[in-house]
């Protein structure tokens, strides 16, 4: 059962230029095909940790301690899908460029791969004949394009930074379903950052709870939800406001 981890983060510490510590001593590992949830509120350092894994720390933040060892490539899906796309470049063209550079194919093959990816992500077929600018697509569609771009890099790990927070609930559900089925199909591992414990619990087998730059609890999802050791974790669990059971059952999730 013990396989070699593909990502190991060991006592990672991040600090601002002013020596202020932003992330303290974070350690976790990720196995092939596994999903790990990083949960916490704003200022918990969850997004910074994710950026450190990607190797894209914002200006003024430095890694001052610890190591990140990764055997595979990773790519990232951001919170704001419109901000992650070039507004002046049509989406198929953008995706084709990524495929062309990352998969080293011909332009023609790249376009074919790009269109396949978009189809797989459930984007409208009309993109085949008529390319569109990000501004002409809905937020959910833009996020699908962003995910397609991330997948075009054939990542071993998909890093997700609150990819559904800016979206409507029905769209959120569709995106989550898409990510789950793609993961089953392509077998990439995932680090999923969110403030919503319910989303993390539905997607990830293990959770890391962060608060103010520190890892306060981690463990297997079901264990953590049933017996949280920390009051903060309990608070996060309670913050998922309960809804009564819908008569006739729910159409989706789980």
């Amino acid at each position: 059962m013990t396989t070699q981890p593909i990502l190991e983060v060991e006592s990672l510490t991040l600090a601002a230029k002013s020596q202020e510590k932003l992330v303290h001593n974070i350690s976790f590992s990720l196995e092939r095909g596994e999903s790990l949830g990083l949960v916490g509120e704003s200022g918990s350092g969850k997004s910074l940790t994710l950026r450190a894994i990607l190797g894209l720390l914002p200006r003024g933040v430095e890694q001052t301690g610890g190591t990140i060892r990764s055997k595979v490539s990773s790519s990232m899906v951001f919170q704001d899908p419109r901000g992650a796309l070039d507004p002046l470049c049509p989406v198929v063209k953008q995706l084709t460029e990524v495929v062309y550079y990352r998969q080293k194919t011909t332009h023609k093959a790249a376009r074919t791969i790009a269109l396949e990816l978009l189809e797989r992500l459930g984007l409208p077929d009309s993109l085949r004949t008529k390319d569109r600018y990000p501004g002409q697509l809905s937020g959910g569609q833009c996020q699908r394009v962003v995910i397609a771009m991330a997948l075009a890099c054939k990542p071993g790990i998909l890093l997700c930074d609150e990819p559904t927070t800016a979206l409507d609930v029905t769209v959120q559900q569709q995106i989550m379903d898409t990510i789950t089925s793609l993961q089953r199909e392509l077998g990439f591992a995932m680090v999923f950052v969110t403030h919503n414990l319910a989303i993390a619990a539905n997607l990830c087998s293990r959770l890391v709870v962060m608060k103010q730059g520190r890892m306060i609890e981690h463990g297997e999802t079901h264990r953590l939800l049933r017996q949280p050791a920390e009051a903060y974790t309990q608070m996060l669990i309670d913050s998922v406001l309960p809804l009564p059971e819908l008569e006739g059952g729910r159409t989706s999730w789980n």
Binding site: V169, N196, L197, L225, D238, S239, P242, E245, W253
Partner: protein, 249 residues
């Protein structure tokens, strides 16, 4: 039960786009109506029309038995107050809390000038902020605290209807919880009549007595809270409810 607010055939168009399409809605006194919908459903537009920030193209609004026209009286303005989503932008950055509260209190002659300080302290106490917050500027507060100040300002003029437009959506989950608790306390203590707008069904469940669902400018369902969350009438409501991520059992 007496009706606090009636909205009749309210329509707002922007060019060819219909933001609100013949909305009919009633709100009973001392109850909270939770208005839910996805982005672009027109829920914020409806709130702004009721608050008098946008003039409707058709239809009318009755506050109690009084019709609210395009040009509202000072008294009518006082009766409807609103709390907005973005805590970073809901307070004038160059006014202290004291100035913010005093302006509302004095403009509507709620208390004498000599009583402003005392009343402001009471208001802050209502929203669980300390009196020394009075001389601070908005940027010195966290998002949740700013939202509390916005609530204090709205309550200061003793409105008969309080509109809250996604007041907790921009806040952290722990802060969201405490602000929702505050709303709950205020509801029971002050018998507020509230129109509470949110895209978050969990929040709507926590605050509402009645639920209304909007989609693309139309009202698709109005139902009691208990009915709505268990037996929604409309297919779209069911779709929304089943899309909410839930904790695994």
């Amino acid at each position: 039960m007496e009706l606090a607010l009636q909205v009749q055939d309210l329509t707002v168009r922007y060019g060819g786009f219909t933001a609100l399409d013949h909305i009919r809605l009633e709100l009973e006194q001392h109850t909270t109506l939770g208005l839910v919908g996805e982005s672009g459903s027109g829920k914020s537009t409806l709130a702004r029309v009721i608050a008098g920030l946008i003039a409707p193209d058709e239809g009318q609004i009755l506050l109690g038995s009084e019709e609210l026209r395009k040009k509202r009286s000072k008294e009518q303005h006082k009766q409807i107050q609103m709390i907005f989503q973005n805590p970073d932008a809901s307070l004038n950055p160059r006014h202290t809390v004291r100035q913010i509260l005093a302006e509302a209190l004095l403009f509507h002659r709620i208390v004498d000038r000599s009583q402003v300080g005392r009343r402001s302290t009471e208001l802050l106490d209502r929203v669980q902020l300390e009196a020394r917050s009075l001389d601070k500027y908005p940027h010195e507060f966290s998002g949740g605290q700013r939202q509390r100040i916005a609530i204090a300002r709205a309550l200061s003029v003793e409105p008969s209807l309080l509109i809250a437009d996604e007041p907790t959506s921009a806040l952290d989950v722990s802060v969201q919880r405490s602000v929702l608790e505050l709303f709950h306390t205020l509801r029971t203590e002050l018998h507020l009549t509230m129109l509470f707008i949110s895209h978050d069904l969990g929040v709507i469940h926590a605050v509402s007595d009645t639920v209304a669902v909007m989609r693309q400018g139309k009202l698709v369902e109005v139902n009691t809270k208990d009915e709505f969350f268990i037996r929604p009438k409309h297919e779209y409501s069911r779709e929304l409810l089943s899309a909410v991520p839930k904790m695994p059992r």
